[in-house]
């Protein structure tokens, strides 16, 4: 998988992971992938809600050692 942009939102609280995701998406092109890592447990549901609201696609999601990783495709 060709990740165009990696965003580290570790340690950041709501709503910063979502705001970082928004800023990141503005820098890549449609079809390109962005990976974002967060430690805020609320971001699991929030990232899905953000993706569904903006139309960007959440293509992969996993968690390990208290880190939540999301891969999103620019719409």
């Amino acid at each position: 998988m060709d990740i165009k942009l990696k965003v580290d939102a570790s340690g950041l609280s709501c709503p910063l992971p979502i705001l970082k995701a928004t800023q990141g998406m503005k820098t890549i092109q449609p079809g390109e992938l962005m990976e974002i890592v967060a430690t805020d447990p609320g971001s699991v549901k929030d990232m899905a809600a953000w993706a569904s609201s903006t139309g960007h696609m959440l293509v992969e999601q996993d968690s390990a050692n208290g880190k939540f990783r999301f891969v999103l495709r620019h719409k």
């Binding site: 340690g11 609280s13 709503p15 979502i18 903006t54």
Partner: protein, 165 residues
Amino acid sequence: MTAEVASKRKSICIIAYSGELEPTWASMIIASTAAAMDMEVSIFVTFWGFGALVKDSKRLPGKNLMQRMLSVMQRPGISHRKLSKMNFMGMGPWMMFQLAKKYNVSKPKDLLGMCQELGVKIYPCQMTMDLFGLNKEDLIDGLEDPVGAATMLQLATEADSTLFI
């Protein structure tokens, strides 16, 4: 989903009435997140909400003694909001900001900047500006032109959701 439905952006209208730190913070979190979620966001700022719209550097806005006394009693500016409970002469907000720093929570001022960056429309209430003796120069940059209750009602009834904070 049809193309027509997909192209219609959701919208939210926030009436920012309160001036204390917590409601100001809540408004800023909701507005910036809504904008990040690609919603159209409008904030109508009225009465004590103006505490967050006056520039931090403005110490005593107002055109007459009574208006200036209001500014003495509660210092305007988004960085100078008081807690509604446990303010303790500023100790409460100071502790709140220390906690925010520790837990990486954005301050209202940073969220306001984010709102403006993401195109949130902020409408000052003309009547409150007259009442408090505020000029456009007293307020932060990037605001919409001042409006009245009719515009606020139009924004609120056309929005998918309206919050009075």
